[in-house]
Amino acid sequence: MKLITGLLAALSVLATPLRAGDGRQFTRATVEAFERLPVQEGGRVKPLASFARFTLLRAAGTATPRDVDGQKLAASEWLLRLVLFPELARNDAVILVEDSQALVAVGLAVDAHEKRDRWSHADIADALPKLLERAHAAQMIDAGQRSPTESVTMRVAESALLVTRLGRSFDFARGRIPLVDATRVALLHPGRDAISVADVLASAEAMHAIERELASTDNARERGAIASVWRFAAELCGDDDVLAWIPPADSLDSKPDWLTPANLVASARRGEPVANEHVDILRAAEDVAARRTDPARLEAATLRLTGLVEELATRRGENGTVRLEAAYHGLGLLAWATGLYVLSFAACSIGWLRTRSVFFHRAAWTASCAATALLLGAITMRCVIRGRPPVSTLYETVLFVTVCAVLVALFVERVQRQRIHQAIAALVGATGLFLARGYELLDGQDTMPNLVAVLDTNFWLATHVTAITLGYSAGLLAAVLGTAYVLIALVRGGSADAARQSALARSVVGVTYFALCFSVVGTILGGIWANESWGRFWGWDPKENGALLICIAQITLIHARRAGFVRDLGTCAAAAFGGTVVAFSWWGVNLLGVGLHSYGFTSGIQTALWTYYVAQWTVVVLASVVWLRRVSRRKSREDAEAVVSAVGA
């Protein structure tokens, strides 16, 4: 336990960024405080670290962009830079343009950029109005009819607009509102010729009292002075829907929506009471903006701001897991696990070359176990953060499928001790986590989103979804094991270790049994859930059909083996084919775009999916080659024996 705690602490230190560049330094504590600032976005309260990460993934296609000097930035650091130093951050290349033709069309010179490249906001700013115009026109076109250039235009415009709006989101803290001399509103702030937005909120009640008094007079100068203050304040606050980071002072039930500075000014303008907590928070934000060039003072100001927001969020019961989520992103457990799996596979490979040494096998085993512990840790953290079972989104299916497949493979290794399963565990672990990373990049959306109403049930998520995902996991592991059997038989031919091959085939059967249990029970539980939600047990929906196909493939394999229609090679080839059935059910049906499981649609994975299909079908063809070779070898042997017996006679 101490070892794990120590390891996590070490990982935390290594993973936490410290930035020094452009003459602006953020201390580690500043960035950490900023990372855990609670915000409400996408219907839930999350740390700013999550918002920054997924905003960047969407806009830049990476969570670690480079600044104008080519130095890597962590996501939160980039956002901190953007809100505090927008004049510098506008030169950071964070807008991914997948095809520069989209920018040629709006009159930008693209010579200095690759066809697919990241552009800075400054590069695009001049053409932004035209870009938005074109994006608006493209939006009017049906998604299926849009050209690739139109789609790119829309994405670039969206990213550029988001960067623009985020860059202005701290304008309220920097700007000052001029007061008209010798007016009653100026007398509320004696000795000052300009005030901040926080001052406006603090004096809102007094300003309303003055307005009420002025209502019956025709003092245009006084009325104009007050109106001008409100107008300036509203302009400084900008959009009211960019990022809500101020919790309401009321209870969660009465006011679930968090606020932006623009919301605060608007409600104060309407005469609604201003909470002291909100004035304090805005003053703290103004302090942050004022101290941006002094790292030590900035740290203190950021800590105070985050502390105030956390305090209010905690009072509403909404800050429970925000710090844990920030730590989840900061620790980077999945990245460490990926590295350890790669290391484990490398150790296995060396172990095969040096068969007499057990060191590499032990090292591989230890690395795989450590990686799996990290992966399980990450999944557990996600469960605690979300208050959900391990699988409730497509992204989480990838993590769960990976960890289950690795655990089953390691279990089989413990039982059979053939040293092949631990290599497969490492391979599956690394591949699964690379896929998870790829999906996260491709999707660019929060991986811990709120669930649509029909999925909002922990009972069915814990039973049906978990069972069916375990079925996917075991089905895919059986496919990998079957593939390994076929490839070994193909490469080693008659010299393959018969005992090891037989053990491998037995493990394919065992894992298929395991898969069948969970696939069948998971599929039926899915039907029962559908009956509870939609009123019918089975509706031949594509996702349901996919699950049924997995069951059919596995039942057919088990019955065919029982009947003696297939032996080891046939079983392994069928299991390899079964992998395509699982992939079709897991991802393929989502690409059809029809059915009731509309929350699972995704796009952009066709190439990866077809690559997998073709690879597995190739394995089946190779299995036929092995079979033909065996038949021919057996025939030659029988012919030779016939000749020998004829000569003997």
Binding site: Q416, A453, V454, N531, E532, W540, A560
Partner: protein
């Protein structure tokens, strides 16, 4: 004869037949899944999954295939003969027998659902009541005669029974107790009724059948004639018409309507309030809830995953509207209604199958690990 019988039994109960049937079921499921992109669920379901034979069009090449009904029927027979009668009854096959029993239960549940259930929808605005629900896909021609005191007597003819009618071969419907007969001279599964400017009268403009079966609106051209030949009248009924056609013929006042097939609810359902709650600062719905009153007495809340079970029917939260309604707008809630005598059977089947699989594969796993230990 006995030899033939024994051989037939051996084939019918064989694992080989089971494998062939699984293969067909797999192919049908796969084809039926892909076909939904072009043809919609309803048509695909009828063609692939509720048929005994079908012809699959593989890029212009017709391929005859057994339908899922046939495959599942033969599979059920194979399961009973092979999985219960022929299988060796030993400790080793105990789990298999249990799992097979669970699958039989599941097939029974499917059979009962297919042959003895009704399903449909009822849409209620807040404050409205209904004691019936209507089918999503099936339509009916209704001839009703007011009986006084607000009651009516209805003669109902399923649309399917007149769907083939043409002016060359009309379908005549005799109505018991009424001195009139109806002749259906034209029927279309999906059509609009248009009224050209040349005063030629309304006529039916057939449309292609929509793959989303619930989006088809049928239309029929009918002639109503008094049985004594004293009067004759022609009209068009459309599923899009919200009010019935009313006429007086043969001395009787009758109403004709083409509407979705209706089924009685065993209670009156009143929608008191509907709520759609979104996650904060997003458009993603967090919950849909309808407060309803059953028979004017019992208040119940129906929400996603929390249906109402009452009097042999289950009422589910299905939809709502009008979409984009303002905060003070009067909302409606649509409920899916199912009457299925085997509603809870799949849960029992699932438990039985899970038990069987755990027993069977648990034994195998225990044996595999024991063998390893003994070998060591």
């Amino acid at each position: 004869m006995r030899v033939i019988g024994r051989r037939a039994f051996r084939v019918a109960s064989s694992l080989g037949l089971a494998c062939v049937l699984f293969a067909f079921l797999g192919v049908l499921t796969w084809l039926g899944t892909l076909a939904q992109v072009e043809n919609g669920l309803y048509d695909v379901q009828r063609k692939y999954f509720e048929s005994y034979v079908l012809v699959h069009d593989a890029g212009g090449v017709p391929i005859p295939l057994p339908g899922a009904n046939l495959v599942l029927s033969v599979l059920a027979m194979n399961l009973v003969l092979g999985g219960f009668v022929r299988i060796r009854k030993t400790r080793d096959t105990f789990g298999v027998l249990i799992a097979h029993a669970g699958i039989v239960l599941l097939l029974v549940a499917g059979f009962v659902k297919h042959h003895a259930s009704d399903d449909g929808r009822v849409t209620l605005f807040e404050g409205q009541s209904a004691s019936w629900f209507e089918s999503d896909f099936r339509w009916e021609v209704v001839v009703s005669e007011p009986q006084g005191y607000g009651s009516t007597r209805e003669n109902v003819v399923p649309f399917d029974s007149v769907a083939q009618a043409t002016s060359a071969s009309p379908v005549v419907i005799e109505l018991p107790g009424l001195p009139i007969a109806i002749e259906v001279r034209e029927a279309h599964v999906n059509a609009r009724v248009t009224s050209p400017r040349d005063d030629s009268g309304p006529h039916i403009a057939p449309s292609a059948r929509d793959p989303g079966a619930g989006r088809n609106f049928p239309a029929v051209r009918i002639t109503i004639a008094a049985l004594d030949g004293s009067a004759r009248e022609e009209t068009i009924l459309s599923g899009m018409h919200s009010t019935p056609f009313t006429t007086s013929i043969g001395g009787r006042r009758v109403q004709l309507d083409l509407r979705r097939e209706r089924h009685a609810l065993p209670f009156a359902l009143t929608l008191a309030d509907f709520r759609k709650v979104d996650h904060p600062r997003s458009n993603m719905p967090r919950s849909f809830e309808s407060d309803v009153v059953v028979d004017g007495q019992r208040a119940v809340t129906i929400s996603m995953n929390e249906p109402l079970r009452e009097g042999g029917v289950v009422v589910y939260q299905a939809s709502w509207g009008p979409q984009g309604a303002g905060p003070d707008a009067r909302l409606f809630s649509t409920f899916a209604v199912v009457r299925n005598p085997a509603d809870r059977l799949p849960i029992v089947a699932c438990a039985v199958i899970a038990l069987g699989l755990v027993v069977h594969f648990g034994r195998k796993l225990a044996r595999a690990t024991c063998v390893r230990r003994v070998t060591e």
